[in-house]
């Protein structure tokens, strides 16, 4: 299967050239980073951009930086680069744990975290982690730069609030100042390639507040605020977990599709939430690495 339509290919050397192109071509243009989603969509004719803008030639887009207690991940940073990064390993082991669940090596060598949230499929592995860490997305157009909270980012399945004249240059994540630990639980049919049938991410802070987010069990990945509110200031017990699960089930709205049924997803979310919460609490008290 080839890409049947023609397009123009640009590989700008600076950001201004990208934003100029986006202003000129708007919805006719698509940004190309790793291409693991875009090329498939172009082959299947889901997308037929007239202009493809490759942003891999732009300096600083592949940087992972920790400055002033804020992590920056550039738009061209691949999942493999996140897995190998010493900064990620030391300060955000949860991002490493998540990245290792994304597809398989040859995809991770190419696919980017920013691309993952720009594709915005409901099962985006990166989303729950970015949600619990309150990440911001940095966008740029020729006229302005915006900082958009990840909580406001997803507008629907495969839809974001990104404007046609904008591109994402990177994301920032504040390093929490309190001691915390987390866990990402992903359900897939097999390791290597599979998209999440359901995913849940949990952060536990030592002052007993919790952050919970999920993917693949609703139209967009999102935080489970009702669960967080219920868990606040509570020590985890079997009874508390059972009650929290009831709140979680009210927050999710899974569908049946080729990967799993609604009933299976609903059941497994409860199981994974319990598993993840216990793991996160145990890690907070020194059991394990995240």
């Amino acid at each position: 299967m080839s890409i049947i339509h023609d397009f123009e290919y640009y590989k700008p050397a600076d950001l201004k050239e990208v934003t100029d192109l986006l202003e000129r071509f708007g919805t006719k243009a698509k940004i190309l980073a790793g291409g693991t989603d875009l090329i498939v969509q172009m082959k299947e004719d889901v997308r037929a951009p007239e202009v493809v803008i490759d942003i891999k030639g732009i300096p600083k887009m592949n940087e992972i930086l920790l400055e002033d207690n804020t992590l920056f991940i550039g738009a061209c940073v691949t999942f493999s680069e996140l897995i190998e990064s010493e900064i990620i390993k030391k300060y955000f082991p949860l991002i490493k744990e998540m990245s290792e669940t994304v597809a398989s090596v040859a995809i991770r060598n190419r696919a980017t975290l920013v691309g993952n949230i720009c594709s915005a499929v409901p099962s985006a592995d990166s989303a729950p982690i970015l949600l619990v860490y309150d990440a911001d997305i940095i966008t740029k157009s020729s006229s302005k730069e915006r900082t958009i909270s990840i909580n406001d980012w997803f507008a629907g399945p495969k839809k974001t609030v990104l404007l046609p004249e904008e591109l994402v240059t990177g994301i920032t994540i504040p390093l929490p100042d309190k001691k915390h630990a987390g866990c990402y639980e992903k359900l897939g049919r097999y390791s290597g390639e599979d998209l999440a049938q359901a995913g849940v991410c949990i952060l536990v802070f030592e002052d007993l507040h919790y952050k919970v987010a999920f993917c693949a069990v609703g139209p967009v990945p999102k935080r489970a605020y009702r669960v967080e509110k219920f868990l606040k200031s509570k020590e985890i017990s079997e009874k508390i977990i059972e009650e929290a699960k009831q709140y979680l089930l009210k927050e999710i709205s899974p569908i049946s599709d080729i990967r799993a049924t609604e009933e299976y997803r609903t059941h497994m979310m409860g199981v994974m939430f319990e598993r993840g919460l216990k793991k996160a609490v145990s890690r907070l008290h020194g059991g394990g690495n995240a």
Partner: protein
Amino acid sequence: MPEIHFILNHENRAVRVEPNETLLEVLREKLGVKSPKCGCDRGDCGACNVLLNGKSVRSCLILAIEIDGQEIITVEGISRDGLSKVQEAMIDNNAFQCGFCAPGIIISTTELLNNNPHPTMNEIKEALSGNLCRCTGYLPILEAVQKATKE
């Protein structure tokens, strides 16, 4: 038609490509490099894996034009001076049946052993989790990789 320049299997190459041609198409149809195979053509099966600057990638998901100035290695490059240890081990263990997945698996294994010469069985499985094989049930392949790391 734009011309791209890149290193293919240790040699400088130049070729004219359309922007919508994938690396896999250009390697097989314009440059006659036939080891990367077109399996699923959507990044799922791993049969088209090649090394791009030393890292395994799906050549069906990369535009040929993107690799201007980069380095590509395929199985032809790996075995330029004779079969590699990985390839010998695959033969000794009778690891493949139809062989369609073999080039992709040899690419993935080569990358793994370059980074990690003595992987555990779990690490081998993880490295090969993106390569589908419909004949063997994987076991002889995994055992061959293990064997290659021990010698």
